[in-house]
């Protein structure tokens, strides 16, 4: 066996410095989503019992993030199927990060949608949510942007995003959502 201790020490310090509870890099499948959610449900250490609302919010945002990845993973190149998922906890907040490859022609729509949501106050976002629900406009992928809107409503925070160019027509789409812990407020 090679001596991996340096790498392991590095991974350890990286994850503890960044306060990562869970990190995953790979293909996001329904089975993986189920496994992650089971873990979160049963986790009474990272999530204190009195924080039911916070735990539910985090749970909610994990679901929408992961489903968002499966919805937007259209890049066909096999080596670009790897998606990133992070769940972390700082003193005050939990954060959920998703990262996946997308074609550049999706960027404008995504940017527009997230910027729009970020510009609205809570009541206006709820109104948009209701409008989309009422119109029943569901895209072929079943999304209709409802997931993003739901994440904004539940987190109560602005969504942070970044598109990192990878190849001529492909970028890595990173979305970060922060959830303020109820007891820390």
């Amino acid at each position: 066996m090679n001596d991996d201790s340096e790498f392991i020490a590095h991974a350890y310090s990286l994850m503890s410095d960044q306060q990562i509870l869970l990190a995953y890099l790979g293909e996001v499948t329904p089975e993986l989503i189920n496994a992650i959610l089971k873990g979160v449900k049963n986790d009474n250490i990272a999530f204190q019992e009195q924080e039911l609302l916070t735990k539910k919010k985090v749970y909610n945002i994990i679901v929408e993030s992961l489903e968002n990845i499966t919805r937007h993973s259209e890049v066909e190149e096999k080596q670009l199927h790897l998606s990133l998922f992070l769940l972390g906890k700082t003193d005050k907040d939990y954060f959920v990060v998703s990262g996946n490859y997308i074609y550049n022609n999706q960027i404008d729509n995504l940017k527009k949608m997230i910027d729009q949501v970020n510009d609205l106050d809570k009541d206006s976002i709820k109104k948009v949510y209701r409008d989309i629900l009422a119109e029943g406009k569901i895209s072929v992928k079943g999304g209709a942007g409802l997931g993003i809107i739901d994440m904004a409503i539940k987190s109560g925070n602005k969504l942070e995003y970044k598109f990192v160019p990878v190849e001529e027509n492909i970028s890595f789409y990173i979305l970060k959502t922060q959830i303020s812990s109820a007891t820390a407020v």
Binding site: P30, N34, L37, K38, L52, L53, K56, K57, Y59, N60, V63, E64, E67, K126, Y129, R130, L133, A134, G136, I138, G142, G143, A144, L146, G147, I149, D150, K154
Partner: protein, 130 residues
């Protein structure tokens, strides 16, 4: 009746005992496929109510309980389809009661119910779960 699984809700449609319920967690892998037969059933049940009213002058009461721990955004659209169907009953003059259960701490679940209630005419009764 559909039994609850870890990620799909329990559904009860029992007109004999006036017990209609959707409970647990709603995150089925294919929400459309899961909810379609339920909405269809409710659609068809309206003709039963119509028949009852014609026969005896009064249709059975429909009491529908929503007691969800969690539902994802994809399920939301289908839950609204169910509520709209109940709304049709109500608008036709049938006796409908919708109860929305939530844990006291879970204000998001209460909010969700309130958002739904803005999209239909039939009033929703909010009840804190034990």
């Amino acid at each position: 009746m559909i039994e609850q699984t870890e990620f799909a809700p329990k559904v009860v449609l029992d007109p004999v005992n006036n017990k209609f319920e959707i409970s647990g967690e709603s995150r089925p892998e294919n929400a459309g496929k899961f909810y379609e037969p339920i909405v269809k059933w409710l659609e068809q049940y309206q003709s039963v109510l119509f028949y009852q009213k014609g026969q005896s002058g009064k249709a059975n009461k429909v009491t529908f309980d929503f007691s969800l721990d969690y539902f994802n955004s994809t399920s939301a659209k289908h839950l609204l389809d169910i509520l709209k169907q109940l709304d049709n009953y109500y608008n036709e003059g049938y006796d409908v009661l919708i109860r929305w259960y939530y844990f006291e701490q879970d204000e998001d679940m209460r909010d969700s119910g309130e958002e739904f209630s803005k999209l239909i005419n039939v009033p929703i009764e909010f009840i804190v779960r034990d």
